[in-house]
Amino acid sequence: MSGERERRELLINVIAGLLDGIRHVAVGASSPIPAAGAMLLRARNQRDGKPPVRVSILGSQEHNFFTNGAVEVFDCAAQGRVDAFFLGGGQIDGAGNINLVGTGPYPQTDVRWPGSFGSAYLYHLVPRVILFREEHSPRVFVPRVDFISAAATTPEVKRRGGPHALLTNMALFDFDRERGGFALRSVHPGFASSDIRAQTGFDYIEPAKVPTTPLPDPETLSLLRGRIMDELAETYPAFARSMLQAA
């Protein structure tokens, strides 16, 4: 990929595609790329006369549609009013389970991460959870997470939510909830499917010919570099500045 700006623009464009068709997406407070993807979908839908998209940014005053405190996003998800959400993970395994707690034996983990946040709950309730983790390495993508903060599939209970896709700096995977595993959908420009295999610690399905992740088209780029950058600057000023510096 040609540079940092282009790398980010590709991710934002992929995210907007993954969100296509949703009405309401919630985004974590420190997630500028997912937020930008959501804003891009909103702008596109508005341009094309498609149904409006609501983007809730947790912790933001400007993009906060909630008035019932910290519990509301969780209640809202339980009511089926949140269509998409993003989760990451210090570790993500081939079954789609994520670990936000740490590595090694619990509780005195060798490495400690912040904690599970709302993942154990939202993974069950939000239909389209997009796993977004930029670092693509065997350290992150492990055969089996050391601690399951949130489980991807639980046949013992009815659930509407779970992983929809996994997006990294190198590739895009789909998640098959029936099978409980990932399938490589496309590889970002500059990488080969063998790079993905080498950098992924879990097994996954791969098509005979792996497509390349499409780049944003010129119209999308002009939205991204104009309107979306302005919208981002309100909520993620540091990120917006760094996008411009990377340009």
Partner: protein
């Protein structure tokens, strides 16, 4: 009835081994400094539902005997260094949770019931490390497993808000988790930017933003009391300061140096 007291008097009424509920927005950093100054020890922190610099400072200062939280993180400034170090060292009893479970536990206490059912969670290892959480068969409706979590009734809820009136009504705006903490807690201590002469309950619209004095035991004035964290409608967070903390708190010595500066800065404001 609500007492209006000094920041020191408010902090002095938090006793060792009490459980202290703290929010993620509307954080009383002023009372945090006063607690550390007063040499508080062995408090049992309940983060509603996560914490950032407040928990990390209290942990680094050796004030925390136990913590229940869904996360401790400095947000864009990265992981919480003193929390992470203390977890690795096993310095306190750790109860990992997930955000809506902490809120559900408080809700159970609000409603005087021993437990609250909660959606999701099944499959998470949290169920293994939280033997106080149970998976039951739903007693009503279609058969199915449901997780239940026990009530959380903190000894003290502590937070910071823009305003109190003379009667002790607190304007919390839409940060209704602050009210949820107060409903569940045995006592509620609040620091505020200012005390106003008007009655905050006067109109239907203004009352909607208020936690009534009925739930408020002590109020102390602490201008810029959330600094360096944000207070919605009043001031943004001081991200540079939080990043400075994040860098310094990586080492024990750096943390000590930061803490000493922080305590004197908070004293100058007060």
């Amino acid at each position: 009835m609500t007492e209006i007291v000094s920041l020191e008097a408010l902090a002095a009424d938090v006793r060792p081994s009490q459980s202290l509920a703290i929010p993620v927005t509307g954080v009383s950093m002023a009372a945090t400094a006063a607690l550390i100054e007063a040499g508080i020890r062995d408090i049992r922190l309940i983060c509603v539902p996560i914490s950032s610099m407040q928990a990390d400072l209290l942990i680094g200062a050796g004030a925390v005997g136990a913590i229940e939280t869904s996360a401790v993180s400095l947000g864009e400034a990265g992981g919480a260094p003193r929390f992470n170090a203390a977890v690795r060292a096993g310095s306190f009893a750790l109860r990992d949770s997930t955000c809506p479970a902490i809120l559900a536990g408080l809700l159970a206490a609000q409603k005087g019931v021993p437990f609250m059912p909660i959606a999701g969670i099944v499959g998470s290892d949290l169920l293994k490390v939280r033997p106080d959480w149970k998976v039951i068969d739903s007693p009503v409706g279609e058969p199915g497993k449901v997780v239940v979590v026990p009530a959380i009734a903190p000894d003290i809820a502590l937070f910071h808000a823009p305003e109190a009136d003379r009667a002790g009504n607190i304007r919390i705006g839409r940060l209704r988790e602050l009210a949820a903490m107060a409903y569940a807690a045995k006592q509620t201590f609040v620091t505020v930017e200012r005390i106003v002469d008007r009655n905050l309950m006067e109109t239907e619209e203004s009352a909607a933003a208020v936690l009534p004095s009925l739930y408020v035991d002590k109020v102390a004035v602490a201008p810029r009391g959330a600094w360096p964290l944000p207070l919605p409608g009043e001031y943004p967070g001081d991200d540079v300061e939080v990043a400075r903390y994040a860098a310094m708190a990586r080492s024990e010595e750096g943390f000590r140096a930061y803490l000493s500066g922080f305590l004197s800065q908070r004293k100058q404001v007060a």
